[in-house]
Symmetry: C2
Subunit: 340 residues, 2 copies
DNA sequence: CCTTGCCATGGCAACGTTTTCATCCTAGCG
DNA sequence: CGCTAGGATGAAAACGTTGCCATGGCAAGG
């Protein structure tokens, strides 16, 4: 009969016995929580290395009042452009802070987000960064207790909480404004969900700027609700083949931008494109491109600041921070070799 | 004086009191570990929902023998092309299995990998997926105890363990072979680290195939050790501007492929390109492209299979699995509109 | 020399859960 | 009607850690 041979990890007791001291002393050495004679401490440290001992985070976080030195991050979906960047930046920030970052994915489902928040709380994370999903129709989000939460990149509905996000309204407004000034009157809008947060701000900005200039947004040039790049490609291809094609296409996410560029390449169109997110393959664009540059280092430092403050002191009123964005202009590299 | 008002999460005792039963009974209802009268169980469940109670994973995993229903994933770096895909697939697999996935990043540093393995173990994950970093000069990896580990995508050095990776040697060999058959005699090789696992296999394949055909790899056409896209761009641009430019460029990672394509676009070169990873913006390539398609769903299902087997039964000898890859051929979309 | 006080250390309870063991009750059978 | 078997439930120990309290020793001050 084959037993499970996974050797049990050593406990603080094993260390204590090996070092010839009490468990309390080992704990004191490991946490530096009280003075221990240097020779004793050295003996303990030797035992620790010899046994390859690590304190059990589970047992440790059982005690009330102890920080687990762990942060959680819940991302909405891996398709998001900022996914890698956000994890990279937060991981670095956590490391600097001496904490470990645990990541999980909500898949844009509120039920899953709720479950994972509880799951992370039950692991006693000190705090959580959450890219909120939509769908909290019951206002349950406001009743969540447990670890403090800082919402990131998207403004959650139905709850007053700490939020850090970019000023996507302004970002989109500036892009549309600029295109208008350049003379574009037929701009297409390709978006994802426009009734939930970041999409709704972008869509509102697009409408507002066009209206302010007296233009009436042409419904034939608006196509929203895209979840994947493929449908965006079809939508834009259709527009480009129509009687009155757009002279510019504005899109909201990097994922959709790829879909749009695909359509532009397929149709061999020569128009302007713009996006309120960056993509790393932007330089391959066959057409001139304007991108909104969002500094995720800034986002993360703000989020970390808010979370640590909240962990220290839960009483303060919640804050919402709208961070400024930059812009990048790219002309197609191959344009000189294209027939003019 | 502002106190920390973070309300303590309810315990199983609170539920027991509210439901008018003992803690044991609550535990039994929650785990289904023993029969409980249906009416009593119902009362407990009501109390659980009313208090929004969740079992503390920390306290739970303290008991020996209990599964935490948690898996860990340690990724080497977020710049890796497969990063998002791997997390997405593993997250789905974990969810199907009823487990939660916790992700952390080793940043390609062995010290950090070691630390995180212990950290995850101390959180009592049932098992770990690890994309191994290099640098374990002391052979410490083989002495790691704690949760069972399945290494993913890269073959760790100095340890016999469960590994699942793609057959990158064969993938590269096939690509080079095909280019040779097409008549290419001056192929450039742009790679990252070639003395550690997946890079070493790819580099070996490139050399082997060229040698088998009697060709001598031109050192001027080999440039390795690239960590970012920028240096690859410079290297390829240099080659393209030289007296004897390559007629094809083979590269190893998606990150470097972008750098290569940038050089090709900048120089307006008309050559072949190939890569042993996929990128989602491949269709924007200005030149014909051959990509190796790696099915990460397959990778993950194999890894999960190995890990669950290992969790059930630690005694079995370790396995190494080399998974087959596919290939994708892309012709540039705009080629018809380019001057021929 | 005796007392006071501090410093180093050990003992022990508690954290929230699961599980074994014991207890009680009921129903079924002789 | 009495006894037993079994099902439902409660009490308590244990998991690994930390912090409070107690203890003992030693130095300094009276």
């Amino acid at each position: 009969m084959s037993r499970n041979l996974q050797p049990k990890p050593p406990t603080i007791k094993d260390v204590a016995v090996l070092a010839g001291v009490s468990m309390s002393t080992v704990s004191r050495v490991l946490n530096g929580s009280a003075a221990v004679q240097s020779e004793t401490a050295e003996r303990v440290r030797r035992a620790v290395t010899q046994l390859d001992f690590v304190l059990s985070a589970s047992a440790r976080s059982l005690r009330p009042g102890v920080r687990s030195m762990t942060w959680g991050l819940l991302v909405d979906a891996v398709e998001s452009h900022y996914f890698s960047t956000l994890i990279a930046e937060l991981d670095r920030a956590a490391q600097d802070h001496g904490s470990t970052l645990l990541v999980s994915v909500t898949q844009k489902e509120w039920a899953r987000e709720k479950h994972l928040i509880k799951e992370m709380s039950s692991r006693r994370v000190d705090g959580l960064f959450v890219v909120p999903a939509n769908g909290d129709v019951l206002g349950e989000r406001s009743r969540l207790s447990g670890a403090p939460i800082v919402y990131v990149d998207r403004i959650p509905s139905g709850v007053v909480a700490d939020v850090v996000t970019f000023d996507y309204y302004k970002a989109m407004a500036e892009i549309v404004e600029e295109l208008w000034v350049q003379g574009h009157r037929r701009m297409a809008f390709i978006g994802g969900e426009v009734d939930t947060d970041p999409g709704s701000r972008r869509y509102a900005a697009w409408n507002d700027v066009l209206r302010r200039h007296g233009g009436t947004p042409d419904p034939d040039l608006v196509s929203v609700g895209h979840l994947v790049a493929g449908t965006a490609t079809e939508a834009v291809a259709g527009m480009l083949r129509s009687d009155r094609p757009p002279t510019a296409v504005v899109t909201t996410t990097g994922l959709l931008l790829l879909g749009v560029l695909r359509a532009i390449a397929l149709e061999g169109a020569d128009i302007e494109a713009a996006c309120t997110e960056e993509i790393d393959s932007a330089f391959l664009s066959p057409v001139p491109l304007t991108l909104v540059a969002a500094d995720f280092t800034l986002l993360v430092s703000n989020a970390v600041e808010l979370l640590t403050a909240r962990i220290e002191n839960a009483g303060e009123p919640p804050t919402t921070r709208l961070l400024p964005t930059g812009r990048v202009r790219l002309d197609p590299l191959r344009s000189s070799t294209l027939p003019s």
